[in-house]
Symmetry: C5
């Protein structure tokens, strides 16, 4: 997974240490997807600006800028169930699902 | 499972790649069901327009169009607990359950 | 478990198939319990009209009619934690817990 | 665990059977803890009037009466994460976590 | 993990026993992280005043005081998904995820 969406560019959190940056380079064991209001239809949000481009491509996701440049996200028009099935074919399994406000979120993990 | 509700017709998300369409054809490892307000009674939503017709038939589900043609859903009059028991007999197990607004949602998976 | 609260009387959902009715007769692998507002006290809802009468009896549950004949439910005066402990002695394990509105819900499964 | 907070005094739910009372005496496989609004600080609610006194003592919990005698609860001033770590040392593992209203709830189980 | 953020300074809960203080010293099997409103961006809260300083340093976290001295918290500017991936490299796995109000919370555990 060359160039695989690690967090190298983000951990400038001002913390006292910096050992974290080497701990997650190039691996993407967790994926978060979400949808709003109705679970039977898309769009489904499938990634953020640091997500693995290869996985986003596999899902057929489009990158867009939200809220006046503040952050980027990837979305697909598929319903979340269809996305879960696609991610399963790549080894991701649902760990937990929750609702927050009008948004449904799934947390997936790949060993 | 001939004609088994894959996502072939949905992944026109405009993404840069299209390798996703072949990844989920004909498999339906995840099922989402939901009910509103009271968990002791139905109806229970059991599928979307891309759900496996055989599984929907097994559940005795009816397909209906919601919100002026915007999307389709399958529902049964059974309470969600009854649906969970039926799905278990087909190998589906509850992974997670959540509430969002007035809706209770179950995420099930079949190995 | 003779006469054990199957779903035989409920799956008249108008679906195109009816193979579902034989799939869940007499088994009750899933149980849903719920309580409102405070988790430290009962009452706890433990079943619906199709719940296994033997299990309801084991829990000491009372059947009551809610909302002008619309549906039946079983309840106990125990707090939910006490009910979870009783159900565990019968082989049920918590799979997931969630809140929806003012209601806390537990989903239990027995292998 | 002599005198271990069973549910013997509570299952007077008026149900048709009473076999439940012998099913949970002296075992406490499930624990529910909760906190309000902020997860970084206590107090954390750790038990109800039927909770195991030994476990409550281990956690350093105080019993108090809420809402004009209606029910009792145990609380600690620790943040919930600290309580989870203490309970883990006694064999309890988190099964599920949820939010309901302004309250966060953890459900723990001990084999 | 010298000086590893145990709960020794917090369990003055007024409880009748004090055996709890020795049960959790120096171990941090559970971690709670949270974010608000949008899951695609940080900041992500990663700890409280008793969290393991080494782990906080690994994450690049900054300690800050909230609400007029009432409590401390650690945060990073990373999105929660990036934090989950970093914590996974240290052996933490997501046990459950939930929403409460506008906040998304993940509960992680390390064996």
């Amino acid at each position: 997974m060359p160039g695989g969406g690690g967090s190298a560019g983000r951990d400038a959190g001002g913390g006292p240490g910096s050992s974290g940056s080497s701990g997650s380079s190039g691996r993407m064991p967790y994926v978060l997807i979400s949808t709003q209001i109705r679970l039977e239809v898309g769009p489904t949000m499938v990634g953020d600006e640091h997500s693995d481009p290869d996985l986003m491509s596999f899902l057929g996701a489009t990158k867009r800028n939200m809220l006046g440049n503040h952050f980027w996200e990837y979305y697909v028009t598929d319903a979340p169930r269809v996305v879960l099935n696609k991610l399963e074919s790549r080894g991701y399994r649902v760990v937990s699902m929750t609702g927050v406000g009008q948004t449904l979120v799934w947390c997936l993990h790949k060993d």
